[in-house]
């Protein structure tokens, strides 16, 4: 059991959790993720670690409620607990002094890009951050990102905040201005990451994306998260999740991610219609936490 120490909504359906997981907190590096299961009948889902606090023994995860499991998670509060949290998984981001680095976060992807931006800043880079969202209410971590960026550009699709337009337009504008860009990291919806790859490709700017394929165990055992990078088959859980954007087969990633769309939709509808059972089950886990089983007997 992994107790939730703090939880708060950052925007409409995006929620931040600080979860007690001392071993993971101690080891975690930017770019890594955990796999979470909420209750006995739940699925295993990967979530990126946004931050950690070694002294408090906590990790921070930021979750957008899009499917059943993430919406259920977003109904949990401080004092509740998550049944299983395993990690840190995946390879850490490559952090070094590239020179000028552009970090691009789209929607909840900002939460994933943020720790890498912090690490890039610490490594001595000039960090330009471009954060995009559909509208103002979906922009998250503005203050945190501002504090770690040398330059920050906020973009909204509807112009309700920051500049009107997509993150790729800002990136293109920077390139057109003749700014030197040594490295780009883009994390967000797949179409956004693909679009960023196409902007930087003609200029041969090294570009990294963090992929989010379907995953079960997260340790290289199931092969469900296989992605194709430069014709090579890679497992996102152990070889990634970050890959060279110019080599990734995004079309295949989109197709494989659609595999369970119908089932996921059904599951979400059933949950929205009546979340009681799942909530009870999630809280039942918490009861076990309060009344732990008697420890191992010594014969």
């Amino acid at each position: 059991m992994f107790p939730i120490k703090e939880s708060r909504f950052l925007s409409g359906d995006v929620k931040l959790f600080r979860v007690e997981a001392p071993r993971i907190a101690r080891k975690r590096q930017a770019g890594q993720f955990v796999i979470v299961r909420i209750h006995e009948h739940g699925e295993r889902i990967p979530l990126t670690i946004a931050d950690s606090d070694v002294e408090q023994g906590t990790i921070t995860i930021i979750v957008q409620g899009v499917g059943k499991t993430t919406r259920l998670l977003n109904q949990l509060e401080a004092g509740d607990a998550i049944l299983d949290v395993v990690g840190p998984l995946g390879e850490p981001s490559e952090i070094k002094n590239f020179g000028t680095v552009v970090v691009i976060g789209g929607g909840v992807g900002t939460a994933i890009a943020y720790p890498t931006a912090v690490a890039m800043k610490q490594a001595g880079n000039h960090v330009i951050t471009i954060v995009g969202a559909r509208n103002q209410s979906l922009l998250i971590l503005e203050d945190e990102v501002r504090a770690t960026s040398d330059e920050l550009y906020l973009m909204t699709d509807d112009g309700s905040y920051g500049e009107h337009g997509f993150v790729t337009q800002k990136l293109q504008a920077l390139i057109d201005q003749g700014r030197t860009i040594d490295h780009v990291l883009a994390i967000g919806p797949i179409p956004m990451m693909r679009a960023v790859a196409e902007v930087t490709r003609p200029h041969q700017i090294s570009t990294i994306v963090s992929l989010n394929p379907i995953m079960v165990d997260g340790t290289g055992m199931c092969g469900g998260c296989r992605v194709y990078v430069g014709k090579e088959c890679k497992f996102a859980c152990v070889d990634g999740p970050e890959f060279d954007a110019h080599q990734v087969d995004f079309t295949n990633l989109i197709q494989r991610n659609k595999m369970y769309r119908d089932r996921e939709q059904e599951s979400l509808e059933a949950f929205e219609a009546d979340p009681t059972h799942d909530l009870e089950e999630a809280h039942h886990c918490q009861m076990e936490q309060r009344f732990p089983e008697v420890g191992p007997r010594t014969v």
């Binding site: 499991t69 395993v86 079960v216 290289g220 469900g224 494989r256």
Partner: protein, 476 residues
């Protein structure tokens, strides 16, 4: 004491059959296929034992179970004593009674096998373990006084569990680390409910907990904690690595990336660990097999488990595609027969060349080539050779690739001073299970490559003996 029949009469009793669920019925449920021997059948079967002075069966068992003694106790109706005797050598009798390839081990060595059918040792073992479980009076072996030594076991599959059991009995403080959320390794994620009910594994794990073993799930050794940290920060005195061979192999043919193509590991994990066959209760999704055509590539036990799972998920046609003939199939005979009875269609001497898909990226078919057997190769088996011009496309909606697994590199990559071979398996001494790194032992599939449950358990026992010696003497 039941009178022993004279040997001549014993051999006249035919080998007793295992009662099983009807094929037409079981092909549509995940309940166990074999129903288990009744007391009467177990009695009758045990009468067949010739009580050899030098029991070949025990020599044929990788963990050396004292089979003749167990069978004697069964004949006398002393089932709980029989169970206790079993547990002296085997921490998972209810498991091995179900999934061991007995025909190649104890039963293969049985003297009766030469002229009659061998004694049904596996079935008797299962009967005894089940009897004990039902009474709830598990005869846990006595534990030696505590030694104050701490041991970490990496991986909770058969090798890890059997090593943990033996070391705990020797009085060491044992912690078993598991990356998944449930203890049991391949017994939980790999072997389906209809062959090995998960309740059985859970009960065995509970017994081990009662023996004082500590189990920690959700810890990925190599990521959450490294091997060096186990020694330096968590105070362990020795480590046994039993992570298995869990890295799925693919064929590297075109179309393998299509949605609908699974590795056997993913398919079986979704079905077994994540209970995807019960979507009303469990959230983990799986491809909807109902009324569809499903092909499994491979001829081992994992392929049989996958194909029979697909049938139970409602597949209209479930095929085995295997490039050699049935004779060369590595799967147990019993599993192949069960699969056939249930309606699995065997396409032996066929090899996939390519998976075919539609523009949405979903699998729609597999291009196959017919094979014939040529000269014997280095493995002694006749080499399958493609028949030119025999290619054709078979429409399928889902495929499972079950052609084997390799070594998972997680632990090795964060323990660079531990030797591995060119395939990534850990190098460990066969007799002592020692690696080249002080205090670190390894065994089971991560050393040998993919094998059987009982061989892994045997490796766990070898390691336990050697680790005990190291913990006592401190000599490396």
């Amino acid at each position: 004491m039941v009178d022993k029949l004279p040997p001549k009469q014993r051999t006249k009793i035919p080998r007793q059959a295992m009662p099983e669920q009807e094929a037409c019925q079981r092909a549509h449920n995940f309940d166990e296929v074999n129903l288990g021997l009744t007391e009467a059948i177990a009695q009758r079967e045990s009468q067949r034992c010739l009580t050899c002075a030098d029991p070949k069966c025990t020599h044929g068992c990788p963990v050396g179970v004292q089979i003749r003694e167990v069978v004697d106790l069964v004949r006398e109706g002393e089932y709980l004593s029989a169970a206790a005797k079993l547990r002296e050598d085997n921490v998972l009798p209810a498991v091995t009674g179900r999934v061991c390839p007995q025909e190649n081990q104890c039963e293969g060595a049985c003297v009766l096998a030469r002229r009659f059918n061998s004694l049904a040792i596996g079935h008797i073992e299962r009967f005894v373990a089940d009897y004990e479980r039902k009474t709830g009076q598990v005869g846990l072996p006595e534990r030696a006084p505590l030694t104050g030594k701490k041991v970490a076991i990496v991986g909770s599959g058969p090798a890890g569990l059997s090593c943990a059991g033996d070391l705990s009995l020797k009085g060491h403080e044992v912690t078993v680390f598991e990356a998944l959320h449930e203890i049991g390794g391949v017994l939980i994620y790999g072997i389906p409910e209809f062959r090995l009910p998960k309740e059985i594994v859970r009960q065995e794990v509970e017994n081990m907990r009662a023996m004082g073993i500590d189990f920690q799930t959700n810890v990925v050794i190599g990521k959450t904690v490294t091997i060096d940290e186990l020694f330096n920060e968590e105070g362990y005195d020795a480590v046994f690595i039993a992570t298995g061979a869990g890295l799925p192999k693919f064929m590297n043919i075109p179309g393998e990336q299509l949605a609908g193509v699974y590795s056997a590991n993913e398919f079986l994990t979704r079905v077994n660990l994540m209970k995807a066959y019960d979507p009303d209760q469990y959230d983990s999704p799986i491809y909807d097999c109902r009324g569809r055509n499903v092909a499994i590539v491979g001829g081992g036990n994992t392929a049989m488990d996958s194909v029979r799972s697909a049938l139970r998920l409602g597949a209209k046609n479930a095929y085995i595609i295997y490039r050699r003939s049935e004779e060369e199939m590595p799967a147990r005979g019993e599993e192949v027969h069960h699969a056939k009875d249930e309606g699995v269609q065997f396409m032996n001497l066929h090899n996939p060349l390519e998976f075919v898909g539609n523009e949405e990226g979903n699998l729609t078919g597999v291009k196959l080539v017919k094979m014939e057997l040529g000269e014997a190769d280095e493995s002694g088996r006749r080499r399958p050779v493609p028949i030119e011009g025999s290619e054709f496309v078979m429409p399928i909606d889902m495929a499972v690739v079950a052609i084997g697994t390799g070594a998972n590199p997680l632990v090795q990559s964060t323990t660079p001073d531990m030797a591995t071979n060119k395939w990534g398996y850990i190098v460990a001494d066969e007799e002592t299970s020692r690696t080249n790194k002080r205090g670190v032992f390894a065994g089971g599939d991560i050393v040998s490559g993919a094998a059987t449950v009982i061989l892994a358990m045997g490796a766990g026992r070898v390691a336990a003996r050697s680790m005990h010696e190291y913990l006592e003497t401190g000599q490396w």
